[in-house]
């Protein structure tokens, strides 16, 4: 028995050594860096392009090989995994990020401001609207991998089938509602289960923002949702769901849901004509192209006076604890370069991070997809003109802000709260969270006091009918809104 156990032990030891030797870091002649990202098949090609770009740029060893080897890690994309690994000192060298500010707060991301200037991947190399999403208090922590602007994809064939003019461009709430009612009346026979809806959803944020309201005030120090415009937005959404049947209820959506692929079943239902339109970025084309040559159109989100849409990014950051930070920065430079951007354009994986490449013919009029001509430019124009990044305050976590807003909205949709009660409750909870945050993070207090002074100054100028200096406004929504209204300088 002893011999058997000893042999097992030796075998395990040898296997461990063999496993260790098979690790890419050990087997490779050059340092290996890991990129935590999603399992999109395009990532493999992007890795190859990176190696080719490194060679072309001359970042090579004496024998002409790239000085660093990039490997994918698609198993650790979950936010909690990234946090736990990061604070334990074993995070991946490069991490794909959604909103990065929480990671900046924790201190997991490398400040790349200087490297960005040296390596041509500074904020000026990307879309101005997305800069707040890759910077934090004036410092750069990431560079976009791609950029998403939410617009409503329109299946023109669905509308024409029911004799309705497909929507296009800019439209108001009233026009949206009118078109929706027309579609509902034409496509859903009375007494039967509704199978056709105008759209799967409209983000509530866009509704109240288009009425000139943001979740937080200009200085991001207080919640401002306790406002009749928020209540009106909720009531409008409720009406569209339960009275006009323009949007499906949660139960309708669940009945459609197949739980597969990104965006669930929305794209398939759009293709089949169950949804006349749906909000998503340009990356929807990755799937839509598989359906063949659809008769596609594009419309802005409906507005109540101030046309706006959301802009997001999947950006790449360097882990502060990486042993290969100096090498990882090449990757960010690569994201701003031509090979990567052209691949994003070809694959339609959102907008390219570097807007310079949106001026290319391959972007505006891809030869293989004439049915898409005009659409790409509309996305580019939306990113330039009406796109606003996610609101983010130093005093309340975005995830917590959104959780409270969603909870209260659900409370209203489910009949537990009135719209006014929902807005009051959300405001109270978010303001409490801000107060708690200031107690727990005393280092935020000087900034908070400074912002309060800014807020007082903004309110004084507004009351006096004067214009407000743009740099006094911390909330990106209000920066845009004040410009739109001519209230800022």
């Amino acid at each position: 028995m002893k011999v058997v156990l000893l042999c097992s032990f030796v075998l395990l030891l040898l296997s461990s050594v063999a496993l260790y030797l098979s690790f890419p870091d050990v087997a490779s002649e050059v340092p290996v860096i890991y990129w935590v990202t999603d399992p999109n098949p395009a990532r493999q090609q992007q890795v190859q392009l990176f190696h080719a770009w490194m060679t072309a740029e001359g970042h090579t060893t004496a024998d002409g090989k790239p000085v660093v080897q990039l490997r994918l890690d698609t198993a650790n994309q979950d936010v909690s995994k990234k946090i736990i690994q990061g604070v334990s000192g074993v995070g991946s060298d490069i991490m794909d990020m959604g909103p990065l500010h929480y990671f900046v707060d924790i201190g997991l991301l490398q400040d790349v401001t200087e490297w960005g200037q040296e390596g041509s991947f500074g904020p000026e190399q990307t879309h101005p609207a997305i800069v707040p999403a890759i910077t934090d208090r004036g410092r750069q922590y990431a560079f976009p991998c791609n950029v998403f602007t939410n617009m409503f994809w329109v299946n023109n064939a669905t509308f024409r089938k029911y004799g309705i003019e497909p929507p296009t461009g800019r439209w108001t709430f009233e026009e949206f509602e009118h078109t929706g009612k027309q579609l509902d009346a034409a496509a859903n026979p009375p007494g039967q289960r509704r199978m056709v809806f105008l759209a799967p959803y409209v983000p509530t944020q866009l509704l109240y923002q288009s009425m000139g309201l943001s979740a937080l005030n200009e200085s991001l120090t207080r919640c401002t949702i306790d406002d009749p415009r928020y209540a009106a937005a909720l009531e409008l959404k409720h009406k569209w769901m339960f009275e006009d049947h323009i949007l499906p209820t949660a139960a309708d959506q669940a009945s459609f849901d197949t739980e597969s692929g990104y965006a669930g079943s929305v794209l398939q239902l759009f293709n089949q004509g169950n949804y006349g339109m749906f909000p998503m970025g340009r990356f929807a084309l990755i799937q839509l192209r598989k359906f063949g040559s659809l008769d596609l159109g594009l419309a802005e989100p409906p507005h109540g006076g101030f046309p706006n849409t959301q802009i997001f990014t999947r950006c790449a950051s360097i882990y502060v604890g990486s042993e290969n930070k100096e090498l990882a920065r090449y990757f960010l430079a690569y994201l701003a370069g031509e090979p990567y951007n052209m691949q994003i354009i070809r694959d339609a994986d959102g907008l390219p991070p570097n807007p310079l490449f949106m001026e290319r013919e391959e972007f505006s009029r891809p030869a293989e997809f004439p049915n898409e001509w005009g659409i790409h430019d509309a996305f580019a124009e939306a990113a330039r003109s009406i796109a606003i990044p996610q609101i983010r305050s130093e005093f309340v976590l975005t995830a917590v802000l959104e959780r409270h807003l969603t909870d209260c909205e659900n409370g209203f949709i489910n009949g537990r709260l009135t719209a006014t009660e929902a807005s009051r409750l959300a405001t109270r909870r978010i303001d409490e969270e801000i107060a708690r945050s200031l107690i727990e993070n005393p280092h935020l207090k000087p900034l908070y006091r400074q912002r309060l002074a800014q807020q007082a100054e903004i309110e004084r100028l507004r009351a006096a009918g004067e214009t407000v200096p743009s740099d006094l406004i911390a909330n990106p929504f209000y920066r845009k809104y004040y410009t739109f209204k001519g209230w800022s300088r």
């Binding site: 949660a250 502060v320 659900n410």
Partner: protein, 500 residues
Amino acid sequence: MSQTSPSSSRRRWREFLTAMGFLGPNILGVLVFTIFPVLFSVLLAFTNWDLRLHNMYKDNSLNWVGFDNFVRLFTEADFVRFLGNTLFLMMGIPFAVAGSLIAAILLSKDTRAGGGRTFLWLIAASALIASCALLTVIGMGTSAMIILVTGLGCGMLALGLTGGVTVYRTFFYTPHFTAGVATFLLWKKLYNPRTGPINTALQPALDSLTVAVQLLSPSLLRGAFWIALLLMATLFAMTLRKLRQSWADGDLGGRAMLLPIILLTIPTLVTWNWERTRAASWLLIVAVAAILLWQGALKAIRGRQHHPPTPTYGGGTALINALMIMVLQLVILGLGATLHALPAMAADGLAAPQWLHDPHWAKPSLMIMGFWGALGSNNMLLYLAALTNVPQELYEAADIDGASPRQRFWHVTWPQLAPTTFFIGVMSTIGGLQGGFEMARTMTKGGPDGATTTLSYFIYIEGFETGRLSFAAAVAWALFVLVFSITLFNWKFGNKYVND
């Protein structure tokens, strides 16, 4: 006095080293990955540890905040709400335990075809096959799921006839083999409000009920509500009388009466607190107060004949009985209120529930799923094993005494199963308080409207969404204190109940 020789001492030392060689890695693993984190989390709960401030890349000093995190628990509306969700979901435990027991009793019978049973089994199988065919003929063939489920039922019945009870035991235990997430997704599909088989089957029945309700006089149904209130008051009076009698007979201590009485008044408070029943609650409140005064007066006048050994004597039994009566009262209240509202609900046609998409139905949906899981769980296996251990002589003695099947169960089987029930009860309570994370994460994301967020899910949110590790640790320890208290209570009173 024995002398230890140097060679035997060396041998024992060698044996010790060998044992440690084998046990060492495991002990080390438990110390590093279990004991240390547990102890560390105690310290964590008394600090202001926040991921945003304290980690290897931040040099902020860690501060002791005493009981601040624990005090915060009681001012945090979310904690109270999610604790309520957790406790509500635990109300399904008695039903789940009862389900396991019933399943075990059924599975302890031989189902193999033969004897007088064959005829019955054949009738059941034929009825299923006929209903399956009928459904297809009358045009419900579109609902393929119904045909499939009925067909599966036929198949299981047929297999049971040939393979005996082993087949059924295997079927019943199957949910336990299946990965939790897979069953959660399956139930999500079953609960689909439009296309799920549950509502597809339920809606036609509700349509028929709508017609029936519309034909009935609304006052008749509304009258049912008053009957429900009367039943609640009667149950209260009967239980209180029983408690007083037990006290008088020396079977119940004075202090042991307090908690059961509080529990029994909870349904009255719910009636008063519930908007739908508030208007009529005064009647119940008056009745309950009168009963309390009356029984109190009788207690004072008649006194007691015997004295219990301690003031808390018999508390466990009284508490369990009161708990069951309380649940029964709440069920009656719910049924009464539903019947009262039925005419109004039926005016626009009765709609099947939205299940996971309705905050009022989401928790019961999870409880039903939990009940299904419990039918074929380890609890069922434990009951099966316990049933085989019940001495046959006791049944024979009961038969000689002329006991009916019901009496055999209550006076022989049930007391013999008490230790198993106690163990299952304790484990289910612990599991119930700690559980709910996987369900919430997979099926509802804690929604709708936070209705299915349990404390375990709340710990995850606080720990990783907001980075407040110390507060998350405090929630975890509050949960531990709750689990420990309930377990201690179970041991103190339940164990006595089992041994009595």
